[in-house]
């Protein structure tokens, strides 16, 4: 039984019952963050703000939106955009936030990769973060369907069709997901439910997990330095604020975040008011028409890289069709980032530029490859574009294949991966030019390079494994 006395004010009254002082200390005033950080450490708070904006604007859109294929388009484009007071503002804020939230997620993610903040006890931070990426993706996809425009419809048609590639149950699964043989009213209503209730609920739960996962291993810092948080916190509390390597979440850490947030909000609202077409595709202002395919169908920009991994394989190899290979690669691309902590075979926690064995090169190649995939994911896959897409898609998988070799510093294995990749590039180029024109060439090249690999003196010298 708590010790309850007559409270002098509301604060005391609440503190006796809810221990709010202690709660505040645990959550903010004595939640310790390293001092040695830069503005990239503010992305979490920026993301939280974006998510809050999405929830709040979403609530007001929900007041007028009608999840019915006959009414949805007009409820958005007429009722909300032209009648409701500030309805246009909520919609622009919602659409633009949904797009830039992914930009910040990618920055946040690559910050984690650059500073090696995904290993040595921080695996759960990484995994819960990736879970958020996946659930945000589902949330974005389901939300994109709701205005029931041409892009809503055809993106839904194309993406749900992908499940048809799963062996044995594929065709049934597609119908099950859609609730009909084609994207139609039951599809809209069930994705509406997912978008406004189930996915947000799951996302909020995972955000809780993500925050909690930071508690034990603590936030990383710019140098990957291992800090004794208890000792440093004692220093700070003893008044040695300049010497302590940590700062409290409130007010020190947040004061910096608010400044970064302010700058970010200028950028965000500039997009909301003056530059929104990238997030609100003009084609989606044509009402959905199952009888008429738009000339170009492409996903929103944040899905383009994985979409390009899907499209990158443009030729059949033996029994494997281009579509199957693309689907397999797409499936891998969507889950492989989860496994990043286990692809990284060494323990060092340091910024990429200071890590051993060419990790920095790997990191920047990955960034470049993601950008190439993103851009070529939108370009029409005709002519040489198809080959560039192939190079980038194979490159993406190859980078993951190379990561254990890079981090464990196994030169022979790395050489093998590089040679295999080059072989695939040559084979792909031959397919592209139709110089020899069949999958046999690829198999032959595999064999040749496999032989080269075993004869390679570098490999022989390194067979013992990591030094």
């Amino acid at each position: 039984m708590a010790h309850i006395t007559k409270a002098n004010n509301l604060h005391e009254w609440l503190d006796q019952r809810l221990a709010i002082d202690k709660l505040w200390k645990v959550l903010a005033a004595e939640y310790w963050i390293p001092k040695n950080i830069n503005f990239l450490w503010a992305m979490g708070v920026v993301l939280m703000t974006m998510f809050t904006i999405l929830v709040i604007s979403g609530i007001f859109l929900l007041m007028y939106y009608k999840p019915d294929t006959k009414l949805a388009f007009d409820s958005v484009n007429y009722t909300i955009m032209q009648e409701v007071w500030y309805g246009w503002l909520w919609r622009h804020m919602h659409a633009v936030a949904a797009s830039v939230v992914f930009l910040v997620i990618y920055i946040h993610m690559f910050t984690g990769i650059y500073y090696a903040s995904y290993k040595r006890g921080r695996e759960m931070i990484w995994i819960s973060g990736m879970l958020l990426f996946v659930t945000f993706s589902a949330e974005a996809f389901s939300g994109y369907m709701l205005p029931w425009g041409q892009m809503s419809y055809w993106a839904a048609q194309v993406i749900t069709n992908l499940f048809g590639g799963i062996p044995f149950i594929g065709d049934e699964l597609v119908i099950w997901i859609r609730g009909n043989f084609y994207v139609s009213d039951p599809t809209l209503t069930r994705f509406f439910m997912l978008h406004v209730f189930l996915m947000p609920l799951i996302i909020m739960a995972i955000i809780g997990l993500h925050f909690y996962s930071l508690r034990i291993p603590h936030v990383n810092n710019q140098d990957g330095e291992e800090i004794d948080f208890d000792a440093e916190a004692e220093k700070y509390k003893a008044g040695l604020k300049k010497e302590a390597k940590v700062i409290p979440f409130w007010p020190v850490f947040l004061s910096k975040d608010f400044f970064v947030l302010g700058v970010f909000m200028i950028f965000y609202f500039y997009l909301v008011f003056y530059h929104y077409n990238f997030a609100m595709d003009p084609i989606n202002f044509d009402p959905a028409n199952p009888m008429k395919t738009p000339p170009h169908i492409y996903p929103e920009w944040y899905f383009l890289w994985s979409y390009e991994v899907l499209r990158g394989f443009f030729f059949d190899v033996g029994p494997l069709s281009a579509m199957d290979m693309g689907l397999i690669a797409f499936g891998i691309a969507n889950v492989i980032f989860f496994a990043l902590p286990w692809f990284d075979k060494n323990d060092e926690v340091a910024p990429a530029s200071r890590r051993s064995g060419g990790f920095a090169i790997w990191f920047w190649l990955m960034v470049v490859d993601m950008i190439v995939l993103t851009i070529w994911g939108k370009l029409p896959p005709t002519g040489f574009n198809a080959y560039i897409g192939y190079v980038a898609a194979v490159g993406f998988l190859a980078l993951f294949a190379a990561l254990p070799a890079v981090t464990a510093r196994k030169k022979g294995l790395l050489m093998f991966v590089i040679l295999m990749t080059l072989a695939l590039y040559v084979a792909g180029y031959m397919e592209y030019t139709k110089a020899l024109g069949n999958g046999f060439v690829i198999v032959a090249l595999f064999v040749i390079f496999y032989a080269l690999f075993f004869l390679n003196p570098v490999f022989v010298r390194n067979r013992g494994g990591a030094r």
Partner: protein, 304 residues
């Protein structure tokens, strides 16, 4: 300093990505076309000395009013829109405002050779003739008729009227209550409503039969296509969408701008509100950021 370096890297990478997926990708997806000139250079010029009073007679003698109404001159339509569409595929335009929106040279050419002026040679030929019969008068008659139509056309025409004359017989505009058979009235009862809807459905069915496809409602075209596309498309649909059933309608530059302005008013009626609120919100966050920076400096002075 390091923070600025990091920021610069992010800005460059995001900038390249943005350039690739927006301006560059869209330039690859949409073939380039020359912007509209509204010169209608492929058409013959008309005789300059048209006489409006002779034109008034010529328009009667040549039977124009057998199909076209001229409401401003108290010449009524011989049929209601639905009956007319059953006969001709589409309701023939009222000629009161026609010279206020259509280029005069184009007007003369349409009367003389509609298929050529409309650029519909892929749809109409000798076996399937265009509904408007050929004109057998002289070039002088032609110039007189145009002069007459110019003389009766109002000097100033509203954007809405421009739309109704130029586009309104094929394209609905439901966000401003416009239908292809005219403004949707307030119905007194369900029967009136059903009657109107039946007429509309009949007209639309005739139109679809005539064109091979249902012309789209243009309510959101300002957002889905944008100013430039609409302007260039109106000037020459075949140039942008080869083989389309839409005729070249021969609008003047001014009339096209009016149509675009009207579509903007209907499809993006909060534009002004958006543009007037924008600077204030941005200003708010500039001040927010400055205050946040000052506060942050004060707090971090203790820890650095």
């Amino acid at each position: 300093m390091r923070e600025l370096k990091i920021l610069a890297i992010i800005v460059v990478l995001v900038g390249i990505t943005y350039w690739g997926i927006e301006p560059y990708a869209h330039s690859q997806m949409h073939p380039h076309h020359e912007p509209a000139t509204f010169s209608y250079g492929d058409l013959q010029a008309i005789a300059a000395n048209g006489d409006a009073s002779k034109g008034a007679t010529a328009i009667m003698n040549n039977g124009c009013t057998g199909c076209h109404s001229i409401k401003s001159q108290n010449i009524p339509a011989p049929m209601d829109p639905v009956t007319a569409s059953a006969s001709y595929g589409v309701n023939p335009p009222d000629l009161s405002n026609i010279a206020a929106v259509v280029d005069h040279k184009f007007l003369a050419n349409v009367i003389k050779d509609p298929v050529k002026a409309f650029k519909l040679a892929h749809k109409f030929n000798d076996t399937k003739p265009f509904p408007m019969p050929a004109f057998y008068g002289s070039d002088q008659d032609l110039a007189d008729i145009v002069a007459y139509l110019v003389s009766i056309a109002p000097k100033e025409i509203s954007p809405k009227e421009a739309y109704e004359t130029a586009c309104g017989r094929c394209h609905n505009l439901r966000y401003d209550n416009w239908t292809v058979i005219g403004e949707k009235p307030k119905f007194k009862n369900e029967i009136e409503k059903a009657d109107f809807e039946l007429k509309l459905a009949q007209y639309e069915a005739n139109l679809k039969k005539y064109l091979g496809t249902t012309p789209p409602d243009l309510s959101m075209y300002i957002r889905s296509r944008g100013h430039e596309y609409i302007r260039d498309f109106v000037e020459d649909p075949q140039k942008i969408l080869h083989g389309t059933a839409m005729p070249r309608v021969g609008l003047t530059k001014e009339a096209t701008e009016k149509v675009v302005a009207y579509l903007e008013k209907v499809g993006d009626r909060k534009k002004e509100k958006r543009n007037s609120l924008g600077p204030w919100v941005l200003l708010y966050f500039v001040v927010f950021a400055v205050l946040a920076y000052l506060w942050k400096q004060k707090i971090w002075r203790e820890v650095h």
